[in-house]
């Protein structure tokens, strides 16, 4: 390692701030996965028969499938029988207000800086954000439900939605990501516990940001959440997902499914700031983030955008995608994926163009540091029917140090001569000269690296809602602390 690398190395090494464990009594399902466990989960949630049947069908499919291994990520085999598939903080009954929620839980969210109390609306000064807090397998609180309800907007936990809006859920569940889609989607369909549900009626523009904070706490559990967002004609919603988990030596599996459906001229913006425990410097522990996220631009002129800042997880394996079915629909994917120490990421997007004059944009910024491996994998598919469709993909990698890797695996398939696909890629290193330039002007080594990295990610960060853009910038700085150039 040259002196240069050693200098930059010292910059990235901060302990994971959210690694604490909440001491709380949990309702824990026995270890293992079988039909009984699934029936138990369904019964605990008081689900209708159709949903239990759906789960069992998915489980049957899963048992016949083989775990995929084509990604550039390596991990020891997962023992699916050594996981608790349900863990909920013990409560006598579903809390009707924050007063009924276990104070330990409230303290957890306070420590994480997540607002569970509805704030006073200070005319334009404090932007309101509605929050659904999910702790292990259950949603513990959802704010602003009433106010949103006045406009016909449904924002509640998935379990709530199944109870109170069963028909709506049934119409859309599995429409975008059917259980047969892939191994982890099938697993999720069988054992999913909670997540968020959003429905925005025709012509309604959701007046505040909606967000869900996922917190994994109990040991040896997997988290399998399911989120469904439906935007009816001419509606708009912006949604943000945040995630953290405690520091543990064992890996924990997080296999979520997110489905988005946008009708005519509707717009859904979905942003994720992912900060799951990444494992320690030797690669011990950390979350396996194996997620299927897909948006269906069903209606004409509909728009869906995915923005992600992925800094955590031992392994990130996800491809937020858009199926551009409606004519003139638009899909976008903006991503910053950071890997440090021994993290691995194989992430990217799939843009499937079916409709005429559809448009998609992919901007992917990969930052690798330490001994990590960061792969961008993308698919841009232009079907025969996608006349006049356009895609622009820009995929940039930044390497910090000489022991990490950045890989790009783009695939373009086009069956439509009038469709246009553009792909640009760059690879660069943070040079010691850049850092020295900043330091000579008075910035500390850390401030310099943060500045340079934020500059690199600027195009993606500006897609985040403002409040979260500031958090994301800080998070980038923190996750790179101690990394060697």
């Amino acid at each position: 390692m040259t002196q240069a690398d050693a200098n930059i190395a010292k910059l990235i090494d901060e302990p994971y701030k959210h690694g604490f464990v909440t001491e709380i009594e949990s309702d824990l399902a026995p270890l293992g996965l079988n039909e009984d466990i699934i029936r138990m989960i369904s019964a605990k949630k008081q689900e209708p028969q159709w949903l239990l049947d759906w789960r069992l069908e998915a489980f049957a499919k899963w048992q016949k499938m083989e775990e995929p291994n084509w990604a550039k990520v390596k991990y020891p085999p997962i023992d699916y029988q050594a996981i608790h598939y349900y863990a909920a903080p013990k409560a006598k009954s579903a809390p009707k207000s924050l007063d009924e929620v276990d104070p330990e839980l409230l303290r957890t969210y306070e420590k994480l800086g997540i607002p569970l109390k509805e704030q006073e609306w200070l005319a334009g000064v404090t932007p309101r954000v509605a929050v659904d807090a999910v702790f292990d397998s259950v949603s513990v609180a959802t704010t602003y439900k009433e106010e949103l309800g006045k406009q016909g907007i449904l924002f509640c936990s998935f379990s709530d939605a199944v109870k109170n809006h069963s028909d709506l859920v049934r119409r859309y569940l599995g429409l975008v990501v059917p259980p047969s889609d892939n191994y982890f989607a099938a697993l999720n369909a069988a054992v999913f516990t909670d997540g968020s549900f959003v429905y925005v009626p025709k012509g309604v523009r959701c007046p505040m940001e909606l967000s869900t904070y996922f917190r994994i706490n109990a040991e040896n559990t997997g988290q399998f959440e399911r989120t469904l967002i439906v935007a009816d004609d001419d509606s708009y919603v912006s949604y943000l997902e945040g995630c953290t988990a405690p520091k543990r030596d064992e890996n924990q599996l997080h296999a979520a499914v997110v489905e988005l459906v946008a009708h005519d001229r509707a717009e859904i913006k979905y942003a994720t700031v992912q900060n799951w425990y990444p494992g320690d410097a030797e690669g011990r522990g950390g979350i396996y983030n194996f997620v299927t996220k897909r948006g269906l631009c069903k209606g004409e002129g509909s728009r869906i955008s995915w923005t992600q800042v992925e800094t955590g997880s031992a392994i990130t394996w996800k491809y937020p995608s858009c199926v551009l079915a409606g004519d003139h629909s638009q899909g976008a994917f903006y991503s910053v994926a950071v890997t440090n120490n021994r993290q691995q990421a194989d992430t990217g997007s799939k843009m499937i163009h079916l409709g005429k004059d559809t448009k998609s944009t992919i901007i992917s910024k990969g930052i690798s540091a330490g001994k990590s491996q960061n792969t961008y994998r993308g698919l841009v598919k232009m079907a025969r029917s996608a006349k006049g469709a356009r895609n622009k993909t820009q995929c940039d990698s930044l390497l910090i140090g000489d022991k990490c890797g950045a890989h790009t695996v783009p695939t373009i398939e086009s069956r439509q001569p009038s469709a246009r696909v553009e792909h640009e890629a760059t690879t660069s290193r943070v040079s010691e000269d850049q850092l020295f330039y900043c330091r000579q002007r008075g910035l500390s080594a850390e401030e310099s690296l943060t500045l340079i990295v934020n500059g690199f990610c600027r195009e993606v960060l500006q897609e985040l809602p403002m409040e979260f853009a500031v958090e994301a910038q800080k998070l980038l700085g923190v996750s790179l602390e101690g990394s060697v150039g």
Partner: protein, 249 residues
């Protein structure tokens, strides 16, 4: 203000400075000239604290403090400024955002209050105008797509904003046409004052027509071999460095 005594330094095992000594009092402008490989840029980088260089002997006292023991950003806060020979590009970081971050970092280090965005913009606009840089340049990412002349002028703009006590200009004239040279020189001259010292490193006498030095030193093979008044630069122009070598030998 700056006292360099018998400084020895190397990079990647190669010794570049071999016992370099120099004193620059407050308010003075000194020029350093010399052939390629003399170690002029090395000197500049070492004073600024570039981590690639290793000091193997000697000392540097700046404002009474041991400069070599300070990190680059601490030296900046103390008042050291290096106008780079090849200014670096930093994509995605706006010129004015960078300057605001830098100035406030220095002010914080000195225990001064930080400037808000409005105060900052006002200062930037004034100084940019004086240097002949358009406001548009302030918004562009730092040095990205700037011409050679624009980059050098941007260095001087930064100097004007950060108000350092000791400015090291590392071949600021390289790559500049006559008009750009004049603008840069005007910018530098406007910053001269009794509380500020400058070290102007250059190959060519021409810059010194515009930025008149108080003393001129000739650096060869890692040391100062001759010093004199401004007329020394003219003599060099006439006789070349070889002439100096003969005289020293």
């Amino acid at each position: 203000m700056l006292i360099i005594e018998n400084l020895k330094a190397e990079i990647e095992g190669r010794e570049i400075l071999k016992g370099f000594s120099l004193e620059v009092p407050a308010g003075a402008v000194h020029a350093i000239m010399g052939p390629n490989g003399a170690g002029k840029s090395t000197l500049a980088n070492i004073l600024a604290g570039h981590p690639a260089y290793k000091v193997t002997g000697g000392s540097v006292i700046f404002k009474g403090q041991d400069l070599l023991s300070l990190a680059p950003e601490a030296r900046a806060a103390l008042g050291v400024f290096l106008a780079f020979q090849y200014p670096i590009e930093i994509p995605g970081v706006g010129n004015s955002a960078f300057l605001k971050a830098a100035l406030n970092a220095q002010r914080r280090a000195r225990g001064e209050n930080e400037l808000d965005a409005f105060a900052m913009m006002k200062i930037l606009r004034e100084k940019a105008k004086a240097i002949g840089l358009s406001e548009d340049m302030l918004k562009r990412p730092l040095n990205v797509g700037f011409s050679g002349g624009e980059k050098k002028r941007n260095e001087i703009l930064q100097m004007a904003v950060l108000e350092p006590s000791f400015c090291i200009l590392d071949e600021t004239d390289s790559g500049l046409d006559i008009d750009a040279l004049r603008i840069v020189a005007d910018g530098v001259n406007a910053l001269r004052g009794p509380e500020r010292s400058m070290l102007v490193i250059t190959h060519y006498q021409r810059l010194l027509d515009y930025i008149k030095p108080d003393r001129v030193h000739v650096q060869m093979d890692g040391r100062i071999v001759r010093s004199g008044g401004p007329e020394l630069a003219l003599a060099l122009e006439a006789e070349g460095y070889a002439g100096v070598e003969e005289k020293s030998a």
